[in-house]
């Protein structure tokens, strides 16, 4: 499959480009500690709000910290929270959603009503509600995004499981005496997981935006820890005197979301509409 993936990737220019950008950002996130040119927390008030220069290509922020270093650290935080939330919600969603759908009956009904209720709150309002009462902090932020995030996987896997749970090979496994959970994990999950994987890639962008939105509103990562959201929030105050503070993080954020989106679409094309 890997070979096929790269062969196809080479043909689709935009997807290839997206793949490269995403890998690049992930590498930055991994090695953030080693590649920041300056200390992202070190303040130098005489340099505050100074624009880009050769030694500081992205300029300085409102406390005279090197903007490039802060963006690199912010990349690490945004991407790690994004990946963590996607992995947690993915596992939670496919386990809960898949098992409920496979068992059917009352379990399926409970799943559907529970997700109905969670979906009845629009967008990130649920996360805002949780974080604003629970308090800010990385753990609470991840919790709030998780409560909201698992639903899409659960619903998706439910549809797939309902489609295949009565197929002959499942019946055959049942007749030959396999245990319910073994059948579920071995036979059903393996054949219904592809759409959820694609959803996971697409969701990465959504989670990163949600995290940045909450941080932007002052409900996520709190300063001095840099995150794209709280950097943009600070930059808003200095639109007149330091436009570079808004432009650079926006470009970085947009290119990341952009590449996640195109990569997701490519995977969708490859796995689902094959």
């Amino acid at each position: 499959m890997n070979k096929k993936f790269f062969q196809k990737l080479r043909k689709e220019k935009i997807a290839l480009f997206s793949f490269i950008i995403l890998s690049f950002y992930i590498l930055i996130a991994l090695f953030a500690n080693y590649i920041t040119p300056y200390n992202p927390y070190e303040m130098n008030l005489s340099q505050r709000l100074k624009g880009p220069s050769l030694s500081h290509p992205f300029g300085f922020d409102e406390l005279g910290r090197d903007e490039l270093s802060r963006i690199i650290m912010g990349t690490r935080i945004s991407i790690s929270i994004g990946l963590l939330v996607v992995v947690i919600t993915f596992i939670m969603g496919i386990t809960v959603g898949g098992i409920c759908a496979y068992l059917g009956g009352i379990f399926d009904e409970i799943l559907m009503r529970a997700t109905d209720v969670l979906l009845a709150m629009p967008g990130i309002l649920l996360a805002i509600a949780i974080v604003s009462f629970l308090g800010t902090g990385i753990f609470n932020l991840i919790f709030a995004l998780t409560v909201m995030g698992w639903i899409s996987y659960a619903r998706l896997i439910r549809g797939e499981v309902l489609k295949i749970k009565n197929q002959d090979y499942v019946l055959a496994a049942k007749i030959s005496g396999s245990k319910t959970f073994k059948i579920f994990f071995r036979h059903i999950l393996r054949n219904s997981i592809d759409p959820a994987i694609v959803q996971g890639v697409l969701n990465l962008g959504g989670v990163i935006i949600s995290e940045a939105s909450l941080s932007f509103l002052g409900l996520g990562i709190s300063p001095p820890t840099p995150s794209w959201g709280n950097m943009l929030s600070m930059a808003r105050v200095h639109l007149f005197d330091a436009p570079h503070l808004i432009i650079f993080p926006s470009i970085i954020l947009a290119t990341l979301i952009f590449s996640v989106h195109f990569l997701g679409e490519f995977l969708e094309e490859m796995f689902i509409h094959r």
Binding site: P122, L239, I257
Partner: protein, 307 residues
């Protein structure tokens, strides 16, 4: 049909009740004592006691819950503990601003997405389609909180055409509407394009051509009408999303709507007002979603009635 409508109604009521319960529980998840959190450490014990009684937090939880539920059924959303004003009235005062913003964002999204989506859908595998895809992805990729400040930077500061923030004449609404509508126009463009492409492949189109209709007539009378059904549904559903997306846009542009009210309430630890606002936004959303669902079944009677 009647059975479906009844079921849809019951589900909405159930969701409303569940959201209410969730919002009531929120005050319980505050780490520590909510009254101390609101007044700050070291507040005089008399004040703490008074506020606790005012908020009804001295009673057991189930009594508070039942009281609140009773209040809600009588249209009482409690009072803000900072201003002492009735929460429902505050929210109703703020609502028109949010509705106006959502409405103009919708208009902006329609103006962008219909031409793009239709062109992209009709001219498959051409530059038009690529352009439509590209623009719609750009709309998805640039989140509100980046687009808003960028628009202010370019169109209020570098080229001063529109005011930076606040509410006033028509010029005040242009930038917020573009900010809020960008995501929606992206989704709509994608949806319209896909929907038209799907319809074009259906056999009835071939039949219409075989009857001798011109391309224009086929598209105008048959393809367009049929492809609009999912698009209208999406527009309705997204109107609810606009209401929640307004939270960020209103914060950026200091737009005096319900989203900014929520953020203000959270910042000042005005928990009753925050609870009331969250309830109000969710209730609107549930209401809009239910109405859209019903309209959808009327527009397209073939859809399966709720599993």
């Amino acid at each position: 049909m009647k059975k479906y409508l009844l079921k849809r109604f019951l589900i909405s009521i159930f969701s409303l009740w569940a959201i209410f319960t969730f919002v009531s529980l929120l005050i319980r998840i505050i780490p520590g004592d909510p009254v101390i959190m609101m007044l700050g450490e070291g507040a005089p014990p008399a004040n703490v006691k008074k506020l606790r009684r005012e908020l009804g937090l001295d009673k057991p939880f189930y009594i508070q819950y039942l009281n609140d539920l009773n209040g809600l059924l009588h249209g009482n959303l409690k009072k803000s503990w900072i201003t002492g004003k009735d929460n429902l009235r505050t929210i109703l005062n703020r609502y028109p601003a949010t509705i106006t913003l959502a409405f103009f964002s919708m208009i902006f999204a329609i103006l962008i997405s219909f031409p793009l989506g239709i062109l992209g859908g009709l001219k498959k595998d051409t530059l038009w389609e690529k352009g439509a895809t590209f623009i719609s992805v750009m709309g998805i990729s640039i989140p509100h909180f980046a687009l808003g400040p960028l628009l202010i930077l370019f169109f209020s500061i570098l080229i001063p055409i529109f005011p930076v923030s606040g509410m006033g004449g028509f010029s005040h609404i242009v930038l917020p509407a573009i900010t809020l509508g960008s995501g929606l126009s992206a989704y709509l463009t994608k949806m319209i394009k896909k929907s038209i492409q799907n319809e074009l492949e259906k056999p009835y189109v071939l039949c219409a051509y075989a009857k001798g209709l011109s391309k224009f007539e086929v598209i105008k009378n048959h393809v367009f009408k049929n492809s609009m059904i999912p698009v209208i549904t999406l527009m309705g559903l997204q109107f609810g999303v606009l209401l929640s997306g307004a939270i960020i846009t209103e914060t950026i542009f200091s737009w005096p709507g319900i989203g900014r009210l929520l953020i203000r309430a959270i910042e000042s630890r005005d928990y009753p007002l925050a609870q009331a606002t969250i309830l109000a936004i969710s209730f609107t959303y549930i209401f809009v979603t239910a109405v859209v669902d019903v309209i959808y079944t009327i527009l397209d009677p073939r859809i399966k009635f709720y599993e």
